[in-house]
């Protein structure tokens, strides 16, 4: 008898879970990057937005390339990503509307304390990469078509380093920022990382920042609405409230107030250059 009851309860539970979801405006889905999610920024600002609007934000954190792909399929309502070229293409193809600058952070070059390529103190990021390539020092690359990976590829190109033939010293991990930092930590490799993820990263071992502050390393984040004209199921109204809030005084104040261990990692203006 009790066994039969258990079976019925399990069936009931499953039916509950399997019944179609109601169209629900109490939350939106935001496709964003692993770096933003792992920095802890969303954990700080989303509760503030929820308090102001009653709308919750479900963050799906993937690489920028994948976030744009999720947006292209209409599977998110809004995007917060960092790859200007990719964003412009996304808008031009009609998938997104109303791109706005939200905030900046910057990339830093991380390397082993022993610094085999001697790049410590080299502020010019291209020059630092050129030296790493010349020394054939180990370098860990995201290799995942993320905003960070795209930035790294642009830097190699600008530095005039030819990556044809996939040289052995440069190792593509094909994974997110954190896993790539884990690989770099265990290989004593150089790696390009965004400051927010680095500030939050615990398994540093021998790694430290070896070069930072080159203006080319600035990393603008854009908020984009997925085009409801193309994807009718997008929660256009709720997404727009998030979009407006993020660029409003309240949103900017929330972003500006977020710090990791007392260090500010997201800036409202590209003021780092000074």
């Amino acid at each position: 008898m009790s066994r039969r009851n258990l079976v019925f309860q399990l069936i009931a539970l499953f039916l509950l879970l399997a019944s179609p979801a109601r169209a629900d405006d109490s939350f939106i889905t935001l496709a964003s990057t692993t770096s933003t999610e792992q920095s802890g920024l969303f954990g700080f600002i989303i509760p503030l937005f929820k308090q102001a609007s009653g709308i919750d934000v479900h963050v799906v954190a993937v690489g920028t390339g994948q976030a744009l792909a999720v947006g292209t399929r209409g599977d998110a309502d809004a995007l917060l990503v960092h790859d200007r070229a990719g964003e412009d293409k996304f808008i031009a193809e009609g998938h997104g509307i109303d791109r706005r600058d939200v905030m900046f952070n910057d990339f830093v070059l991380i390397g082993p304390k022993a610094d085999p390529a001697g790049v410590k103190g080299v502020k010019d990021a291209k020059e630092a990469l050129r030296q790493i390539a010349a020394a054939k020092a180990a370098f860990a690359s995201r290799g995942d078509d993320s905003g960070t990976h795209r930035m790294e590829l642009r830097l190699w190109k600008a530095a005039g380093v030819d990556l044809a033939g996939n040289p052995a010293w440069r190792k593509e991990t094909g994974s997110g920022m954190g896993p790539t930092l884990n690989v770099a930590a265990s290989l004593d490799a150089y790696v390009l990382a965004d400051r927010a993820t680095w500030a939050n990263f615990k398994n540093r071992q021998n790694l430290e920042i070896v070069s930072e502050g080159d203006p080319v390393l600035f990393n603008p984040y854009g908020s984009i609405l997925v085009n409801p004209g193309l994807h009718p199921q997008v929660k256009a109204q709720a997404a727009r409230r998030w979009h407006e809030w993020l660029t409003s005084e309240a949103g900017r104040a929330a972003i500006g107030a977020y710090k990791i261990n007392g260090e500010q990692v997201f800036f409202l203006e590209p003021a780092l250059a000074d």
């Binding site: 069936i11 879970l17 479900h58 799906v60 896993p179 990263f201 997008v234």
Partner: protein, 233 residues
């Protein structure tokens, strides 16, 4: 080594602190995997027994096919379910993507072949024993399947546990269809993946220890249940 020792300390601290977010994550993991295993069981066990009762010629092919599906890669299942549930996909209108229900669906598909293939194995011998009796008494197909399942019920507990074990340990499919959304679709395994990527290896392993302890408890409970069932017999 330091990290491994620390992981035990962290696991105990987490349990002692009774953090509500951790509790919710644990409950979601258990809920999703139990629902998926139950659904796979309700569909797969009769299907496995049904295959046993069939003597048509394609049957060996089906069994080979089923056994091959045991090795179904979870990311592939995740990807297929993602494409089905995507707003641009055929089932997009249901709005299930990035919800726990999508995770249940993916894990049900993932564990269904396990249940069907293992049930086939468990009932095969009973069919050999009872087939003639069934024929003599003219038992219908449904009746035969029910009898086979009842006869093999001890083994079916193990079948259920195998399905549940695959589901609760799995991360590839639910990461894709659930999206690892904090407080909504974040399970134990996706949390472990996340903490690993944040470089907090001790915390990740600590969470892993909690997960393993939980599956151990469930497996122990099933063992006791199974023993009581066979005592009653």
């Amino acid at each position: 080594m330091e990290d491994i020792g620390q992981a035990f300390v962290i696991a105990l601290e987490l349990i002692a602190a009774g953090d509500p977010e951790l509790l919710a994550t644990v409950l979601l993991s258990l809920g999703v995997s139990l629902c998926a295993a139950a659904a796979a069981f309700l569909l797969g066990a009769p299907a496995g027994a049904f295959l046993v009762t069939q003597r048509f010629r394609v049957q060996p092919v089906l069994v080979v096919f089923l056994n091959a599906l045991l090795g179904l890669p979870s990311v592939v299942v995740g990807l297929v379910v993602y494409l089905l549930l995507s707003r641009s996909g055929p089932l997009g209108a249901l709005g299930l993507l990035f919800t726990p229900r999508a995770m249940v669906l993916a894990q049900t598909i993932l564990t269904l072949p396990i249940v069907a293939a293992l049930t086939y194995r468990a009932t095969e011998n009973y069919w050999a024993m009872y087939r003639d009796t069934f024929l003599i008494f003219g038992a219908g197909r449904l009746r035969a399947i029910a009898t086979l399942l009842a006869a093999a019920r001890g083994a079916l507990v193990t079948v259920f546990l195998a399905a549940f074990g695959r589901a609760i340990a799995e991360v590839g499919a639910i990461m894709i269809v659930g999206g690892n959304i904090r407080g909504f679709t974040r399970t134990m395994t996706t949390t472990i993946a996340l903490e690993t990527s944040r470089g907090d290896l001790a915390l990740a392993l600590g969470l892993g220890l909690i997960l393993v302890s939980l599956t151990l408890l469930i497996s122990g409970a099933a063992f006791l249940l199974n023993q009581r069932m066979s005592d009653e017999r």
